[in-house]
């Protein structure tokens, strides 16, 4: 009789434990679903925001606004130079000991 009672008690404890575990899992599952929905919702918002951003930054609009509001125009070729055409900083003047007297060798 004692054994049976003990068994029933164990079954009841285990059953309750299992039930609470299930409740916790269900809760986690609901949270997961909620998060998934939220991600989907944010993704949808992203789609809309990206479309709006693209609409507002379309080159045709930027071209028009930069010209009318900022007076900007296309860059003229004379303002574009290769990096090699920019003169480097002049280094410290050095004289070579064996060089002809009075002649300085300047390195650029």
């Amino acid at each position: 009789m004692r054994f049976v009672l003990l068994s029933c008690l164990i079954v009841a404890v285990l059953g309750s434990g299992l039930y609470f575990a299930k409740l916790t899992v269900d809760e986690q599952y609901r949270t997961l679903k909620q998060l998934e929905l939220e991600i989907k919702s944010q993704t949808e918002h992203n789609y809309v925001l990206q479309a709006e951003w693209t609409f507002l930054t379309r080159p045709e609009r930027l071209l028009r606004l930069s010209h009318s509001l900022l007076g900007m125009n296309a860059i003229t070729p004379e303002r574009i130079l290769p990096i090699s055409s920019i003169p480097m900083r002049r280094s410290v003047t050095t004289s070579i000991p064996n060089a002809d007297a009075g002649v300085e060798n300047v390195a650029y």
Binding site: C8, G15, F55, P59
Partner: protein, 533 residues
Amino acid sequence: MLLIFTLIGAQSIALALSKPKTSNHSYATINDKARGAILDQKGRILASTVPVNILYADPKHIFNPEEVASALLPYVPKLDKPTLIKRLTKKGRFTELDRKLTPKRHSAILQLGLPGIYVKPATIRIYPQGREAAHIIGAVDRDNNGIAGIEKSQNETLASGENVYLSIDTGLQTVLRESLDTQIKTFEALGGAALILDVKTGEIMAATSLPDFDPNHIMTSTDTARFNQVTKGVYEMGSIFKVLNTAIALETGAIDMQATIDVSKPIRVAGQLIDDYHPIKGSIGLAEILVRSSNIGSAHISQLIGSETQKNYMKQLGLLSASPLEIVENGVPLVPQNWSHITTMTVSYGYGLSVSMVQAAAAIAAAGGDGHYIAPTLLRRNANEPIEKLRIFSTETSMAVRSMMRLVVSNKIGTGNFADAPGYLVGGKTGTAEKVENKGFNRKANRVSFVATFPANDPAYLIMMMVDEPIGQKHSYNYATAGWVVAPAIKEVVNQIAPILGVHPVDITKPENSQNLLPPMMLDGKESVYASF
């Protein structure tokens, strides 16, 4: 006691094993298989799918249509009252009232609390760039199935949720469209088309056809506006074909740079007269024939090339069959059935063979580039993707061709002086083709075009522009030729896109640049140089 414990245990196990209560809540409308986006070369959105709310009615639940219509009317701007009543009294359980309900109107309609009026979530295809590249992107039907352009040709990929990257660059597209639009308005033309091609990869970086349409409202556009003149329309290209004729002549050895041809007498053949727009006296060389755009000279050269050889080259350059372009609106060339010696003559200066602008651009890119033919594409190439190149012309031939194209722009006797964008070494060729009318040609209705490559020492980009039936203006001394109508727009486009593309001004006096062009040559009895500054 035993029974109680047993029951508690059994109930606990039953509860533990019971299935969780599922939520009836559904929010998201864009599922994982939402139609993919179309993006430009730099990842800017050209077409995307966004959630919307559809306003609809269940006519069975509407008891007083007149009253409901009056209340609803301010919030459905696209419908008038009779139409609204008609829809509310329609048979069936569903009648759509508005497909793009804004949040503001949605809220206002909900506050009306009208029975039988409902809102359901859905998705809609939007094109945030509006008219830019509309012909290339295409459109979808109400069920989001592609019905035109890339939307149709790449429907399977897009429907599976994958994005499609195009070779189009929206920045370049805008510049090209604006410039073309300006010229069309200035010269009161019917329309026009233009494209920018990457000579080294075959990628079409911009393509515009005017008039165009807004794909967000495709149903309100006309057939003319929906017609893609860049890829679908096939035209006799006129004198820009002389570039190909020159390249073929040099490549086959039919003529060399030193030879001269008498162009003083018009050619009369099979009832047709071949003459020049500006008559030229005496004999001139190959370069001068191209620079002065002599029809007579080109026709004579074509006879030295021969019909069979010319046809073979046209075939290799992809001009005798539709190009493998990734778009459904892809024109099939009109090839003469009998390629007679008269055909050979007329094809040499761009008549008798009709091709699409894309095909002509790809062929000229081969002749005026580095001699390789690359099939044009509308899809972005991956960084390490191998490019199939077919060598058609030798490096010597292509160097000579681009040198002569440069002289068309830089030499004062050239027909394309207005295209010269200082520093960028623009090379090009003008073309003026009379339009076909009643089985003949209408001398007063022209389609003028210009094909340009830059920089001429190492062509990286090709621009082609065509204007349909321009009318001469006071500032153009009533001329409506390509040199007056299109060349200035080419200069404008080059000046604007070169900095975007990272093309730096070229100093042609430097050996590393000049070695890619022929030495200065004699034109009109004077030495001609390529520099423009």
